[in-house]
């Protein structure tokens, strides 16, 4: 028996919500970044579920693109976080507060 599509969509929605809450409440830049990755993967799950539902390949293609983009984002993001760490000795977003207005 096929698992109903709704199960995947609900799981994906929950994962996305967990990621969103993580971004909002975490203070460590790395953990915020991990939460964002969780969001992106939640989207991939729903893309593939929708792809199955519609019987078209577009969603799977987009999921591949989004994986590649997420990998590129890791490269740039970690480099930025490392350079912040080198400068301040911390990756907590609370310690980085030179810009205020």
């Amino acid at each position: 028996m096929r698992t109903p599509i709704a199960y995947f969509l609900v799981t994906s929605g929950l994962l996305f919500a967990i990621g969103t809450v993580g971004v909002l409440i975490r203070k460590n830049a790395l953990l915020i970044f991990m939460s964002i990755e969780l969001q992106l993967n939640a989207v991939n799950l729903s893309l593939i579920a929708f792809s199955r539902m519609h019987g078209s390949l577009n969603g799977q293609v987009l999921a591949f693109f989004s994986m590649v983009v997420a990998a590129a984002e890791v490269v740039v993001g970690l480099a930025i976080i490392v350079s912040v760490y080198r400068r301040t000795g911390s990756v907590s977003v609370d310690d980085v507060r030179e810009l205020r207005g």
């Binding site: 915020i32 590129a72 912040v84």
Partner: protein
């Protein structure tokens, strides 16, 4: 067997040239690490000029509105937006070359390829006919901009870069979820295909509305509309000034170009549902941007809040949801790009070396110390405030007119009242420059001619478009027709 789609690469030739120029400058930097900046600049400018030529050649193109299996739109909106973005990039490169020469920073050869890649993303996003391409282009431009923001030894730049990255990636996730929802609701990711599917559907469109909401969050972040604006002041202040100039002017054109397509093509069948949302974003942006800018003491921060308010004015034009509104928004974007580019350019020259003098106090007596710079700054400030005979005035009349004709007179009223409040802080800069004595002892001044020459372009356009707007309006009449 899958049918092979017909390949017509002409409509993406500008992007191919830009990406090619980016790769050439990147390799050049890697193979000849001690080469002078002039070569980099020359190579990049040749690339930009060729890309601009390739875009303009597409103006009279006939045939299929979309190419490459419906991934790229070949219409005149894309041509106009590309030309603006490419011109902004050219001025940005000239300013950046000067900035890195003077700032005493280490060699920054990677500045050129990064600007070119960001430009590629921006020109691609305005020509995208498929949400997959919109997402990819958004990431190309964002990833380049995150790195550009951090390209300085100052701690502020690194901090700005991290904030921009974390919030930008967060917004991308929402955007992507919106694309997934739109795909779920309609079974396609093509911008025009979504419109056909939505127009054919009856009954509940809850999923499409959720998709629209998520896409609006993603775009709201990129154009820095309230309440997704928190990053803007920090990033604009922390980034090296030429990068801010490029990013503030070009990103907005690019993101609005894509937003116009998504709203006025994909979700045109749901126009009555998104109109109130855009209405609220527009009203919040003009009010919050104008009010918070008054309290700023740093000129880059002040201009950042002003750019938030200007995003609101463009959105005001888009609430019309018709060709009239698109034309007004396009004119506003061109005027905005020119005056923002120009004012950040002046800020760069006034701060002399790096980011030494960006406080408003350093502008007192500028009219006496540097008459030319003060004159340029006054022109840009008057235009940003929307005072005739500048482009800013015509642009504001255009968006308010479009909103009123569509029945949104309350929004136009909010806009006019905020413009009056905003005039205060723009004119304060002019008063400081001309009616105050210079503070402190004589300091070293930046008197190089090249960046001043580059700033002549936005200055002349700001004036000419203010006096003879018909020249551009005729072009925009044709460009604001979306073919799909």
């Amino acid at each position: 067997m899958l049918p092979t789609p017909k390949l017509d690469f002409l409509p993406v030739l500008p992007e191919l040239i830009l990406a090619g120029a980016g790769i050439v400058t990147l390799l050049y930097e890697a193979l000849a690490p001690r080469a002078s900046r002039a070569t980099h600049l020359g190579l990049s400018l040749v690339g930009l000029a060729a890309a601009a030529g390739a875009s303009i050649a597409l103006w009279d193109r006939t045939g299929d509105p979309t190419v490459l299996a419906g991934a790229i739109q070949a219409d005149r909106l894309a041509v106009v937006a590309r030309v603006i973005i490419i011109s902004v990039a050219a001025v940005g490169l000239l300013l950046g070359t000067h900035y890195y020469d003077r700032s005493g920073d280490e060699r920054r050869g990677e500045f050129y390829p990064l600007v070119l890649f960001a430009t590629t993303g921006m020109t691609l996003i305005v020509a995208a006919a498929d949400l997959i391409v919109v997402f990819l282009a958004l990431e190309i431009l964002s990833l380049s901009l995150y790195v550009l923001t951090g390209m300085s030894r100052r701690g502020q730049a690194t901090e700005a870069s991290m904030k921009y990255f974390l919030l930008g990636a967060f917004a991308s996730a929402f955007f992507l979820y919106g694309v997934a929802m739109a795909y779920g609701a309609t079974g396609t990711t093509k911008i025009a295909g979504i419109a056909h599917a939505l127009a054919g559907q009856t009954g509940g469109q809850a999923l499409a509305l959720v998709a629209l909401g998520f896409l609006a969050i993603g775009f709201g972040f990129k154009v820095s509309a309230v309440p997704f604006h928190m990053w803007t002041p920090d990033v604009y202040q922390g980034a090296p000034t030429p990068v801010t100039a490029f990013m503030a002017a070009a990103t907005k054109v690019a993101a609005f170009g894509a937003l116009i397509r998504v709203l006025d093509v994909s979700f045109q069948p749901l126009a009555w549902d998104w109109m109130p949302v855009i209405w609220a974003l527009a009203a919040a942006s003009v009010v919050v941007g104008s009010v918070l800018a008054i309290a700023q003491s740093d000129v880059k921060r002040m201009l950042a809040y002003s750019s938030i308010a200007h995003a609101g004015f463009v959105l005001t034009g888009l609430t019309a949801a018709n060709q009239d509104g698109i034309r007004a928004a396009l004119f506003y974007l061109i005027a905005y790009a020119m005056m923002t580019l120009g004012s950040f350019g002046v800020v760069m020259l006034v701060s002399v070396r790096g980011e030494e003098r960006t406080s408003l106090a350093s502008y007192s007596g500028l009219g006496r110390r540097q008459p030319l710079l003060a004159g340029l700054m006054a022109l840009f400030m008057l235009s940003l405030a929307g005072i005739p005979p500048t482009a800013g005035f015509i642009a504001k009349v255009g968006v308010f007119g479009a909103a009123i004709r569509a029945g949104h007179w309350q929004l136009a009223l909010v806009g006019v009242v905020s413009s009056v409040a905003a005039a205060f802080f723009y004119l304060r800069v002019v008063v400081l420059m001309y009616m105050q004595e210079p503070q402190g002892e004589e300091q070293e001044e930046d008197r190089s001619p090249l960046p001043r020459l580059a700033l002549a372009v936005p200055a002349i356009l700001t004036l000419v478009l203010g006096v003879f707007p018909q020249m551009l309006l005729g072009v925009l009449d044709k460009a604001s027709v979306l073919r799909w």
